[in-house]
Symmetry: C2
Subunit: 230 residues, 2 copies
DNA sequence: CGAATACTTGATGAGACTCAAGCGCCGTGG
DNA sequence: CCACGGCGCTTGAGTCTCATCAAGTATTCG
């Protein structure tokens, strides 16, 4: 008993002992049409949609491209909370202002919805209220999953989990096109850019993945990746 | 002292560059009275309220004592998501079952509320719906705060932030009574029990805190603690 | 083609983990 | 009353992972 635990601890797993069931993200189709004063806007890579502390007058839905929500620390470091991809809704806050900044990772198009007036609607339109509540709970579950990874994962586990997450979201089983830089990945996983790079190279040497280009990852051995995380 | 300052300078702060405003926790008084089939139950330290994967038939409110919600990894390690203290509501899930286990940290008393029937009520009783929505958003904000700490903090930063969090929640400016073990703290902060112990000793040598007993921490120099985290 | 940017790789060191021992408190039992 | 375990906590020594500092390579774009 103690031995097997010791061995497991060495190359330990980040996954719960119960069967792993990924958090189901809300499908765009499940969303009620809130065509309430939505404004389509385009952002170039790196442009800020809003800053920390800005009035949370609007929330957003991604039409195309990728957006990151993040916070900046005093020393200039950054913690990326989430990447938002096509169909994702983000920037809806409990309080009066945004607790995170939002920035375009790639060229992207979003719809900005006025939050004004929504609050009262939430509790008069069952479907709308229901959807927003589900959205909050789902986001919470995803945040906890992320916490688990940040708190307990090794660099290899973090990278493996990240690749699988992106693959799932892109809906592609065999390769991943990374829309974000190494720095973004590092800030999302609580690592440095060098460690991200090294770990990817390591996984390639192991045969778990291949890197035809820096931004494209072939998932050659999903079982090996899963073994790191499951 | 010089050590802790040096550490702070080296790794910088875990706090956003914008002014730090702690997430306001929902006050018990702000909660609508949901006296819907609440069952008062008592648990001895270490006893499990529910396990990962259990049907989420109920959610809970803490009357006295402390409860932890956590997940277990394959290798036996544990990640504690949160400590729930007097007045806190926990165990309300998006899906059909609990994604985390809940265990009594100390002797504690909780009220279990049937979730059945609540769902429909949520969207017919504005105040109730409003409260649960706020609760979800607040919990989300706290989870993100926790992520930030897990992803970017050094051991000293994690411990300092933890002590201040508990002090705030216990409403005591000058000392903290820790209801939980070193192992609990370690699992909450993503550290080992030895590192927690060593870091506390370090902070005592620095003069930031005093440890009259293992479970009682005097906050001697809050500025120094804040310098680590703010 | 050259400059800028993004990524990779190497050498080194600091911080946290592991293993192992020692201390202190507390309840039990002689 | 004190001896004895048991348990939680502390401390030490050694190791390993990841961050840091510092080149070097690839890719993009004017």
């Amino acid at each position: 008993m103690s031995v097997s635990i010791a061995v497991a601890a060495k190359h330990g797993n980040v996954v719960p002992s119960t069967v792993y069931s990924p958090i189901p993200r809300l499908e765009p189709e499940a969303r009620p049409g809130f065509e309430l004063s939505g404004v389509v806007t385009h952002f170039a890579p790196g442009r800020q949609l809003y800053a920390e502390g800005d009035d949370a007058r609007s929330f957003y839905k991604v039409v195309s491209g990728v957006v990151r929500t993040c916070r900046f620390l005093c020393d200039g470091r950054r913690q990326i909370d989430a990447f938002h991809m096509e169909g994702d809704v983000f920037g809806f806050e409990a309080g009066a202002d945004h607790r995170m900044a939002a920035e375009a990772v790639s060229d992207c198009t979003v719809i900005a919805y006025r939050r004004r007036g929504l609050e009262s609607m939430l509790f008069h339109d069952d479907r709308l209220g229901n959807w927003f509540f589900s959205h909050a709970m789902t986001t919470l579950a995803l945040a906890r999953e992320h916490s688990l990874l940040l708190g307990r994962g090794s660099a290899a586990q973090k990278i493996a989990a990240f690749l699988q997450e992106i693959a799932t979201r892109e809906g592609n089983e065999c390769f991943v096109d990374l829309p974000m830089s190494r720095q973004d990945i590092a800030d999302y996983l609580g690592l440095t850019i060098e460690t991200v790079s090294r770990t990817l190279s390591q996984l390639e040497r192991n045969g778990a993945i291949a890197l035809p280009t820096a931004r494209r990852v072939m998932l050659k051995d999903r079982q090996a990746l899963r073994t790191l995380t499951v």
